[in-house]
């Protein structure tokens, strides 16, 4: 049996294709049951917004075909053959390395992001019933690899998106952001992303929108905040801690005239303004107020780029950990059951030898004790010679990580029970 991974990810398929392949938690058992019925002895389905991957223990081609069919059914027009152009397969050691890289964040769209580790854990837990011992071990070690990479390298340090860079900069002013207030001007995608990022850190959100009040209300409701109109918002500059501006206005909306006198009421309390709009929403002159810290997209991109550059420097160290752990897993996988199988095989052969020896000695009759000893030694020697090469081959295959298939074959050939 070999380990395989089949799937699509952000490198091989665009978002509109990936979102069709995404499986909800409730769909996982059904999908895996179909693959198992096609011959896989273990399966885990990892489905996130950036990837849908089936990890399987199988030698059977039908199981792989079933996966392509499963994915193909989710594309409207294209048959299952069309899926393959978006997909990839990795086998054995490459499949192990692939999962380890995924768990470490090395294969993520945002290098080193940590969310994937939780998603790997969730996938493993959702597929527990079907995973089987090999994939259990593989996913358990993948989580360990993710932790090791994040502890021993700086791959996950800093922030790598403009929205999270905004949160980082605000954090450098206020420390813990939990309980702070943020005023979000705009209700577009960027505003929503940034608001979600701040809300995740415990910031109380107030959304401001002039044209899309309904959308602003919906986003605010989702984030446990509230929505106000643009005219109402200026007074909030006296109390809010963070003002995040991302409107589609063609000119500055946050001007000195509108907020200057209000900011003066803050009595020195800092105000962090994150201007993510293009063209900019905030009059740069506002940064002259002593307690105002104003950052635009360029500034935040600088912070994000620094983090990404620092993370890139950590790739070799992270890859080394992945390689080390892949070796360890592969040694375990290759040697899985080698020693007990060899022992069992020898014991069976010895029982056969003893029985046959006994029968032969009975037929030969009056042999002297010396002759009996010679015949017994001959039988022993013959058995050892027969078993020598298979034992060596099995051990060598185990050391190279190819023992699992041979063991499986050996057990089938000699009618031994499968390992636990």
């Amino acid at each position: 049996m070999s380990i395989k991974v089949l799937g699509v990810n952000h490198r091989t398929a665009p978002l509109e294709v990936r979102e069709r392949f995404a499986h909800g938690a409730h769909e996982v058992p059904g999908a895996l049951a179909r693959v198992m019925a096609a011959g896989a002895s273990g399966g885990v389905l990892l489905s996130t917004c950036n990837r849908t991957e089936f990890y399987l223990v199988t030698d059977d081609e039908p199981a792989l075909e079933t996966v392509w069919s499963l994915l193909g059914e989710r594309l409207d027009a294209a048959p299952s053959t069309g899926v393959r152009e978006y997909g990839y397969i990795a086998r054995d050691r490459d499949a192990v390395r692939h999962l380890y890289r995924v768990s470490a964040g090395l294969d993520s769209m945002i290098l080193g992001e940590s969310q994937i580790q939780g998603q790997v854990r969730d996938a493993w837990e959702a597929s527990r019933a079907q995973a089987g011992p090999v994939l259990h071990r593989l996913f358990q070690t993948a989580l360990h690899v993710g932790s090791r990479v994040r502890t021993e390298t700086r791959l996950g340090m800093g922030t790598a998106s403009v929205a999270s860079a905004g949160a980082q900069v605000a954090g450098k002013i206020f420390g813990d952001l939990a309980g702070r207030h943020a005023l979000i001007l705009g209700a577009g995608d960027m505003a929503e992303l940034a608001a979600t990022c701040l809300s995740d850190q415990g910031v109380q959100i107030t959304l401001v929108a002039n044209r899309t009040q309904e959308r602003a209300r919906a986003i605010a409701e989702r984030l446990g905040g509230r929505a106000v109109s643009l005219e109402e918002s200026w007074a909030h500059f006296a109390t809010t801690d963070i003002a995040l501006c991302s409107t589609a206005a063609p000119h500055a909306v946050v001007t000195w005239e509108r907020v200057g006198p209000v900011i003066a009421q803050r009595r020195g309390r800092p105000l962090c303004i994150l201007d993510l709009a293009m063209p900019r929403d905030v009059d740069p002159a506002i940064a002259q107020i002593e307690n105002v810290f104003l950052y635009d997209v360029d500034d935040l991109q600088t912070v994000a780029a620094q983090a990404t550059a620092r993370r890139r420097d950590e790739i070799p160290a992270a890859e080394r950990i992945v390689e080390e752990e892949t070796d360890l897993f592969w040694a375990w996988y290759g040697g899985l059951g080698v020693v007990p199988t060899i022992k069992e095989l020898r014991s069976r052969m010895d029982q056969l030898r003893a029985a046959e020896l006994e029968r032969a000695l009975r037929q030969l009759g009056g042999l002297s004790p010396e002759d009996r000893a010679r015949v017994e030694q001959f039988s022993q020697s013959l058995m050892n010679k027969f078993l020598h090469q298979p034992t060596l081959t099995l051990k060598a295959a185990a050391e190279q990580g190819r023992g699992y298939g041979l063991l499986d074959a050996l057990r089938r050939l000699f009618g031994m029970e499968p390992p636990e």
């Binding site: 800093g158 450098k172 002013i173 420390g175 020195g268 800092p270 810290f293 500034d299 912070v303």
Partner: protein, 266 residues
Amino acid sequence: MIVTLHLVALALYALATALALAPFVGFRSTPRALAIAFPCAGAAAHVVALSQLTLVGLGPALSMLAFCLVLLQLASERLLRGSAVSFFAAPLATGLVGLAVLSGLSPGTEIPAGRGTWLILHVALSVLGLALMALAFIAAALYLLQFRELKARHFGQVFQLFPPLERLDQLNRIALVAGFPALTLGLLLAVGYGARFSGGAGLHVAKAQLVWGLFTWVVLGWAVWVRVVRHWGGRRAALASIAGFSAVLLVYVALKLVQPGAERFL
């Protein structure tokens, strides 16, 4: 033995300084456990040395000040969840221990029997008050540097390694508020010492010591007053802390220049 232990502490503090400043010259930040291990080991050697020391004279006072500073550095780094205080505190403590060793660690005068506890408490509390004032100065300096970087939109090492502004402001406030009662108690113990052992005829202290002690107390009291009563915060409070501590330091140096010698603190 005392000098040897001081030299061990000095070496460990110097290593802690090197590790703290390493990121500014392009090296990687030291793992947190290691960054804490060196000052901790130095403090362990230092406390053994202090336990054998008579706390009279310039050298012992500087040594005690360095020890308090290292302890406060370790405590405040726990509060700030970072090692920024060590950028200033570690070299300062190293310098102070170095000066203490150079000044000589033997007491200039003998302590009369039965007065040791009073004196140790007076010195310990006064030095603790002074160390807290130094910590407030360090927090203020870090605040101003981080403030400048944030205003100027520079996202270099200071931005990355220094703690957030609000935490530095909080540290400055805590240090000042804790330092004032410590110094006040230290000075009151000095007055009590004089009343008890000198028959109320006052302390056997030099005029310079009295002037500097009162001046420091007034400056620290003013810094606490503007923070607590006038609600100063942020940049203004940081500037006030720096100005106050600098004034205290300048007056000390001026008085020491007038009356040089290592047998007395002043």
